[in-house]
């Protein structure tokens, strides 16, 4: 890191969180700091919502082949974990997927099945996505002749890899953060981060200039003891908080506290002023998170936000054990929360402006370990929103055959679509021009296409 570069970053961080800097001053600082430059100010709204499935979702029990041959292959691999054919919820894609296979959805996902099958469907599935450095075949993988991301199959590392989408990067910046670095100036409000997480710290949303802001499931958390009704205490608190601190850890703590306090009033005022949404959300961990996002989007005008990236998370997908029961619960929670969230975007007439997608560190092995599965590699993912070319299954569905052409070994399925491609397709919809795609996704040129086609062109 060059010293000058560092100073510039430090300034940006200060600028974006300082309440008492004049707005004009902040804007000029933000402009001065811009490196991507040239983004047009838009008066429309667009949001990406990342639904992170912690633990590595076993999507091979989410989207299951239903043709005679396909199901037999699945059943042979999955043994006791195989979902009964008759229980699967039939999907009716408008275009046959690559390989002309037929598929059913987990019986725990009836609402998503309905969304998928409906006319003007807002739901698509992309198959066998995973972190890759280059396209790779089984022979190349086994020979070690093509590099692969470091520490495949490790939770922490593949979680970072998925979110960074630069499998060979050393920093901990995510592609949501890099997108935000390009777009944050679009927002009239330069105080509130355009990246908001309802589920705490994540790599995905961290950029160079934009850092995620954290909101709880019930809104922003305030500190009653320093409200303006006690100006003396408030002044003392702020004096200690904003003191000239010589230790970088102290400064970091102070900056989080400052940001928290400054944003809390703004966010809660905006939420209090919104017209409540009629859409009911399930009272689940994910339901409450997505409801808060819907409320924040509903308050986009008072908050003066035009571009936002949200992050929510659901744990419990690391199904080494007791998978059938545990995963059914997770899928049911996902099903109810996603369907409600989509309904809320429809209610706000923003379905075309909000795109929701799943991410998870890896898929799981097609082979089983008794009553669960282990860490795999490629996996299937859901994309939902009015701008999604739905009712389609994208990518190349893999063979689930034991020892088959996609089986790296022990049922770890080699991805046929890279996370870069999956993310670039979303980024393209979000507004990243083709010429800038390699800025956000440096490795994208290594893959056949940067557009998987699941987003409409508008």
């Amino acid at each position: 890191m060059k010293r000058r570069e560092f100073i510039q970053r430090a300034l940006c961080a200060t600028a974006s969180s300082a309440l008492f800097t004049g707005f004009a001053g902040k804007l000029s600082l933000a402009h001065a700091a811009a490196t991507a430059g040239g983004r047009l100010l838009g008066n429309d709204y667009r949001a990406l919502v990342c639904v992170y499935l912690y633990g590595g979702n076993d999507a091979f029990n989410m989207l299951v082949p239903t043709s005679t041959a396909g199901y037999a292959e699945y059943q042979a691999a999955r043994g006791e974990l195989a979902l009964p054919l008759g229980d699967l919820l039939t999907l009716n894609p408008s275009v046959a997927p690559v390989g002309n296979g037929t598929f059913g959805l987990s019986p725990s996902m009836p609402l998503l099945r309905n969304l998928f099958n409906q006319a003007q469907s807002p739901l698509a599935i992309t198959t066998n996505v995973g972190p890759l450095l280059y396209p790779i075949t089984k022979a190349q993988y086994q020979a070690g002749s093509v590099p692969v991301p470091a520490q495949l199959f490790s939770h922490s590392d593949q979680s970072v890899t998925w979110q960074q989408n630069r499998a060979d990067a050393q920093d901990r910046r995510g592609w949501g953060g890099r997108l935000a670095d390009m777009f944050y100036q679009t927002n009239t409000n330069q105080q509130l981060s355009m990246n908001i997480s309802i589920d705490g710290e994540n790599v995905f949303q961290a950029g160079d200039n934009v850092f995620p802001y954290f909101v709880g499931q019930n809104g922003a958390e305030g500190i009653d003891l320093v409200q303006p009704w006690n100006p003396e205490r408030r002044a003392a608190f702020i004096a200690l908080r904003d003191a000239s601190l010589q230790n970088a850890l102290q400064r970091q703590f102070a900056s989080v506290m400052r940001r928290s306090m400054n944003n809390e009033v703004m966010i809660n005022d905006a939420l209090d002023g919104e017209t409540p949404l009629a859409t009911a959300f399930p009272d689940t961990h994910l339901g409450r998170q997505l409801q808060m996002i819907a409320r924040l989007i509903n308050a986009r005008n008072p908050l003066q936000m035009q571009r936002q990236i949200f992050f929510v998370g659901l744990g419990g997908f690391d199904t080494h054990d007791n998978q059938l029961a545990d995963q059914a619960d997770c899928f049911a929670e996902l099903d109810g929360a996603l369907a409600a969230f989509h309904a809320a975007t429809v209610e706000m007439s923003l379905a075309n402006a909000v795109t929701t997608f799943t991410a998870s560190e890896f898929g799981r092995t097609t082979s089983v370990n008794g009553d669960g599965t282990d860490h795999g590699w490629g996996s299937h993912h859901l994309i939902m929103g009015g701008a999604v070319n739905g009712r389609r299954i994208y990518g190349t569905p893999p063979s689930l055959a034991v020892g088959g052409p996609d089986d790296a070994d022990w049922g770890q399925i080699i991805p046929t679509t890279s996370v870069d491609q999956y993310a670039a397709t979303l980024a393209r919809w979000y507004g990243v021009p083709a010429s800038d795609m390699s800025t956000v996704f440096p490795n994208i040129g290594r893959f056949a296409t940067s557009n998987l086609g699941f987003m409409s062109n508008s």
């Binding site: 961080a13 954290f214 500190i223 400064r251 102070a254 989080v256 089983v368 034991v402």
Partner: protein, 579 residues
């Protein structure tokens, strides 16, 4: 006015510190600085004692500072080493015997009770640090219904806090709580026909998180590079080798040998008697036992390969028993060169500093490699090396960016230890600290603990290359909720308040009130008690001026002064980063 007071005060304090026995400014609260023959090894000041106790215990208080100053570090370590372990499981069993329904709440109560009151403070603090290394969590459905077994697991960490790492690793591995958490329990050998093969969960995490980590380290914990890139410690073959090792373990007293039937493997009970007889889950409390016909004996197993590895190329030949394979595999891990710097780094980061020098890590790793008597893995010697290293015992300069963010749990523990927090009946009903702290004992979201050791917050710290693990749970939400939570504990929950219930843990502010009329003395007292006398002049003066402006007409006023001072300190950036 404030500035003058603090500078005068500082001059006299520094003299007191330099000439250890010189008279001090405020006799009464500085009594320990003048009253002792200093032990040759120190500590030589109250501030040094408080700083040490911040690192080595759940928080200093005046009594512990006085005691440490009286006996010196060496005797203190000896006392702590000889202090009987305070166990968590008996607390839960006593509640059960008293007819109280025992849930994870009871385990949290035990953690707070022992954290605040147990005399074996060093042991409790190290056990907490170990609970963030050998992680299990009641957030897992596999063990959330087993509070007593989880307390028993915690006691294993308590008992081995000064024991040997190799022995601890084996006890952790065979504990049914870990067995269920990372699914080694009932893990079975390959069945090709059913396309079943051994579960890789424990194999992966024991290496990645408990012992060697993902990349090869030098003796000081710095990653070794090849072509500019870190070198992986192991690969998928190694994971499968260990996955095969960790097969064939089930409840104690299941049929162990070839006479057993598959349904007994699947359904043998967790205890010797039927539900609901007492003891129906007794096997949760004893190590898992092997069942040979489910152990992958025949396979040769790729274990860790490293210079001077005992097994040729790190390969364990087939033919072993479940126990012999397990012992060989744990020895193979234990002797890997990464283990010493890996454990050293963990303990330093939990007890002292987020960004230790490589020399410091190296010195602590040396103690792990050899305790001075030729023994490897002595955790007592390692802990002592962590705490008595010159880098731990020297107050670092501010600009060095040394220190660490205080863990949320330890902030509350500090408050309660400093001000004798307790409920009338002695129970600590702090059942859901995670709601406002984002942290509770054995309650992390995943096996990756509450935070990763190498976490760097985006922004300046990343740019400077500074780790700050605890920042991973320091969100816009938690900074506010922690400040509010500490506020209610000091403003609302004090002994004698008409508004508290007998069940509430309350702090004792009575001993503080005499200082309230003199803001300089008051803030000086808390500079020692909460900040090891590291408070900046600016902060000192700000607090003195603020408190001095508050009324001082009666007891309620004086209490308010005390509360304001303590809360403003505990929610400040300077306090939050301990140095």
């Amino acid at each position: 006015m404030g500035i003058r007071m603090k500078s005068l005060f500082f001059q006299q304090l520094s003299v007191a510190t330099l000439l250890a026995c010189a008279p001090v400014v405020w006799a009464g609260d500085h009594v320990f600085d003048s009253g002792f023959d200093h032990r040759v090894e120190g500590p030589w000041s109250d501030a040094q004692a408080a700083r040490f106790l911040t690192q080595a215990t759940m928080g200093p208080n005046l009594a512990s500072i006085a005691h440490l100053r009286a006996v010196g570090y060496n005797t203190w370590f000896a006392e702590q080493a000889n202090q009987a372990a305070t166990h968590h499981r008996p607390y839960l069993e006593a509640q059960e015997a008293a007819g109280i329904d025992v849930y994870q709440n009871s385990r949290q109560e035990a953690w707070w009770l022992h954290g605040i009151r147990a005399p074996d403070q060093l042991r409790q603090r190290v056990a907490f640090a170990l609970s963030e290394l050998f992680v299990v969590s009641d957030q897992s459905g596999a063990i959330e219904g087993q509070p007593i077994a989880m307390a028993n697991y915690y006691d294993l960490l308590v008992d081995n806090a000064f024991g040997n790492y190799r022995s601890l690793l084996e006890q952790v591995t065979l504990n049914p709580v870990m067995g269920h958490y990372l699914s080694m329990f009932k893990n079975r050998k390959t069945d090709t026909e059913e396309n079943i093969r051994p579960d890789e969960n424990y194999a992966r995490e024991i290496m990645q998180l408990f012992s060697v980590g993902l990349v090869k380290l030098d003796d000081s914990g710095t990653p070794l590079l090849s072509g500019g890139q870190p070198i992986a410690t192991y690969n998928q073959d190694t994971i499968r080798g260990f996955a095969n090792v960790f097969t064939g373990w089930n409840w104690a007293n299941c049929p162990r040998d070839d006479g057993g039937q598959w349904w007994e493997w699947e359904y043998c009970p967790p205890g010797p008697v039927e539900w609901p007889e007492p003891g129906w889950q007794a096997w949760w409390l004893v190590p898992m036992q092997p069942w040979e016909s489910y152990h992958a004996s025949a396979e040769s197993k790729q274990l860790l390969d490293y210079p001077l590895v005992a097994l040729p190329a790190g390969v364990l030949p087939g033919g072993g028993t479940a126990a012999s394979d397990l012992h060989a595999a744990l020895d193979n891990i234990f002797l890997h060169p990464n283990v010493a710097p890996f454990v050293a780094r963990h303990l330093i980061k939990r007890l002292v500093s987020s960004n230790p020098s490589r020399e410091y890590v190296g010195r602590v790793a040396d103690a792990f490699r050899n305790n001075g008597l030729g023994v490897r893995g002595d955790l007592g010697a390692t802990v002592r090396a962590v705490l008595m290293d010159s880098e731990a015992r020297t107050l670092p300069s501010l600009t060095s960016n040394a220190g660490k963010l205080r863990e949320p749990l330890l902030r509350v523990a500090h408050l309660w230890r400093a001000l004798d927090g307790r409920a009338d009946d002695g129970r600590y009903r702090e059942w859901n600290a995670d709601y406002y702290l984002g942290q509770a004992a054995l309650r992390s979201p995943t096996v990756f603990n509450f935070f990763l050791p190498g976490y760097r917050p985006p922004g300046e710290m990343s740019a400077l290359g500074l780790d700050g693990p605890e920042f991973q749970i320091t969100t816009d939400t938690t900074v506010a909720s922690i400040a509010s939570g500490l506020g209610s504990k000091v403003f609302d929950d004090w002994r004698g308040s008409p508004w508290v219930d007998p069940e509430d843990v309350v702090v004792d502010l009575a001993p503080e009130l005499p200082y309230a009329s003199n803001p300089v003395r008051l803030i000086d007292r808390y500079d020692l008690l909460f900040m090891n006398r590291t408070m900046s002049t600016f902060m000192f003066n700000t607090l003195v001026n603020y408190v001095a402006a508050l009324p001082n007409a009666n007891t309620a006023d004086r209490r308010q002064r005390v509360q304001e001072a303590i809360w403003l300190i505990q929610s400040s950036p300077e306090y939050s980063i301990e140095r």
